[in-house]
């Protein structure tokens, strides 16, 4: 029996079809798609006002940066507007001499203490949340998978080393350790990526290692050994595809957890600087909640809640379908 056949036999036919067949799961997947679109739109807006496709892009992908991006535009005359209100910004001249005519603007989700559009900022927050969720996973998952595979497959001294690394990192006091790394790496997104990424690979590593140990002595691995395949080929071409579902499940668990941690770090002021992250928005809005300015905090909280909820729910469903034994770990 080849690897693929054994896998599909274990998972039962049509795991994906079963996922899609569940109405709630389908709703979650669609909602994640919508969030992704929102984040991509935010990224587009951000890049457009930044003036280039990426940092140091060639000239053909660079354009003259626009003025202040809409999510950072300050309009003191339209502060604290409740959702759905329409405001008229008077005509004015910018510092560089361009005249801006009078414009009417609808604040769908209200405005904050500087007259900035909450909806626009919320979308930028989604952009940053996706950055954090994806980047931390890109650090944590490859690290965890590599170490877990090596430890589980080779055993012996290598395994002891991997187990030692896991034990050491997991002994550090979680959030404080992340904060310390972020603080030392410097304020900003990079510090957050490193802090979360370098601390959360442990659970990925443990799960992968446990699964690889189960596969190590299976018939298909022995067959591959008899055929004289190299360790690298057996490990990464034969075993790894069979434990890939753990990667998927890990991602669906890691993503919301990273987003929640980023909110926390940015809330403390160590995270993102100068861009509207959800944590910064909450910190900004909390003082004025007491004066009845409820909308900014409410909408940001809702956005975080929904994103984390749908990912948590999806993680549950993925676990049910792919690996019931892993549930609750």
């Amino acid at each position: 029996m080849n690897a693929a056949a054994e896998t599909s036999a274990r998972r039962g036919p049509g795991a994906w079809a079963r996922l899609w067949g569940n109405r709630v799961t389908r709703l979650c997947i669609i909602a994640i798609g919508l969030y992704t679109l929102l984040a991509l739109y935010g990224e587009g807006v951000y890049r457009y006002y930044k003036g280039s496709l990426w940092e140091g892009a060639p000239a053909c992908l660079t354009w003259a940066p626009e003025r202040v991006p809409p999510y950072n535009q300050v309009h003191m005359e339209s502060r604290y507007l409740p959702p759905l209100s329409v405001s008229t910004w008077p005509a004015h001249t910018l510092a560089d001499g361009t005249a801006v005519p009078e414009t009417t603007h609808r604040y769908w989700l209200g405005s904050d203490n500087l007259g900035r559009d909450v909806l626009q900022r919320l979308i930028q927050g989604a952009r940053i949340a996706f950055h954090v969720g994806i980047m931390t996973s890109l650090i944590a998952i490859p690290l965890g998978v590599l170490l877990g595979c090596l430890g589980g497959y080779f055993g012996g001294k290598i395994d002891s080393l991997v187990v030692w690394l896991c034990a050491t990192v997991s002994a550090m006091p979680g959030l404080l350790f992340i904060l310390a790394i972020a603080l030392i790496a410097g304020k900003g997104l990079f510090g957050i990526y490193l802090g979360i990424g370098l601390t959360t690979w442990v659970s990925v590593c443990r799960n992968i290692r446990a699964e690889v140990i189960k596969h190590r002595d299976r018939a298909y691995v022995q067959a591959a050994r008899v055929l004289g395949y190299s360790h690298g080929r057996i490990l990464f071409r034969h075993i790894l595809p069979n434990v890939m579902h753990i990667v998927l499940i890990s991602f669906s668990i890691r993503f919301p957890a990273s987003v929640a941690t980023e909110v926390f770090i940015s809330f403390l002021g160590i995270g993102v600087q100068g861009e509207p992250s959800w944590g910064i928005m909450i910190n900004n809005a909390r003082a004025r909640l007491w004066q009845g300015i409820w909308w900014e905090l409410t909408f940001v909280s809702l956005a975080i809640f929904l994103l984390v909820l749908i990912f948590n729910r999806l993680a549950d469903d993925l676990r049910d379908v792919f690996d019931p034994a892993l549930r609750n770990r």
Binding site: W164, L165, A167, T168, V169, A171, M172, P173, G174, L175, L176, F177, L179, A180, I181, L183, I184, A185, P256, A260, V263, F264, F267, L268, G269, I270, G279, I282, R286, L289, W290, L297, S301, I304, F305, V308, L309, N312, R313, D316, R327, N328
Partner: protein, 391 residues
Amino acid sequence: MWRYVLRRLAEMVPTTFGVLLLSFVLFYVVGGSPAQSVLGQHATQEAIVNFNAENGYDLPLFFGNWCDMDAVQKAPDGGTRLACTLGPGDYELPGAAQATLRETATGREETRAVGADGALTVPEGWRAVSADGVTEVRRATRHFFDSQFVLYLNNLVHLNLGMSTETKQPVTEVLLQGLGPTLSLSVPILIFGSVIGVILGLLCAASQGGVLDRGILALSTALMSINYVVWILLGQFFLGFKWPLFPIWGYESAYYLVLPVFIGVISALGSDVRFYRAAILDEIYRPYVRTAVSKGLGRGRTLFVHVLRNSLIPIVTYVSLSIPYLFTGSLLLESFFGIPGLGSVSINAINSADMSVVRAVVIFGALIYQLVNLLTDIAYGWLDPRVRVAQ
């Protein structure tokens, strides 16, 4: 039993060493010298060199014969010279032909030729004040392992964690002061959280698949999706401000702890209930449960006496995992409710980049984690003989 305890102690050594190494790498190798943040942005090069020499920040990281001192400065004439005076010790000053030494007590100055390889010895009671043309300053370490790592371990053993740059107090004192308030908040959270969580988990398991089970499960998933920050803000807003039932700032009586404990419990309840439910469900289909039911035992007795006892092992493991965090406290909860525990100490230290305090809390937390793990394992070995023989 004693063999088991000894084996467990021996197993603790590499992890503890790893924890110390990891925090050293983070705070000393990557973090570097705190001279800039302690002395301020406008500190002179001389002040920084002296600070580093006094606190051992110019020593080699793990081992070595020389400390590289950043003590070379551009002279007005375009050459290079010493940025500060050098205390007693063996130096290498490549590039310099001669150096001027001054006796500290009398102020008498003397010029010494620097050896071909730049070697210069400054005797006790003297300082080197100038060495023109010097390109590099290196001081000999006292021995090969006279390094930052050894100094750091030595300081830890002597509980010398440095001074807080913010409060100008010894860090050990800061930690000890924060421990009491932290425990008074975290212990009730752990107790109430576990009890309520286990009860809800039992309710779920008893009505598995039913309306109650699905309701609690959906609620748990929703609860664990609400951000911790939002929990605190909403709790303070509704229960402290809108309906002013509880004080929201201060640490004067037990009443001040009610709201933070409530928030601490409810914010963790979601994931706890899900875990407890699964742990209990693992047991509920075992043959002994069927036996108990078929011999006519009531539902309550089966659930609370037979099932609960057996599912206690994963539950206790789960709870014991959170015990180390009792000591480091809840960062936000404490700083939002004005409870002067380790959590708010850490938050303040992070906000003011007071690295010696952050470092101390991280190391303290990691060591406590080791200790609690050890005690938990010993307790297991005592309760369950199978653990003692298992590898």
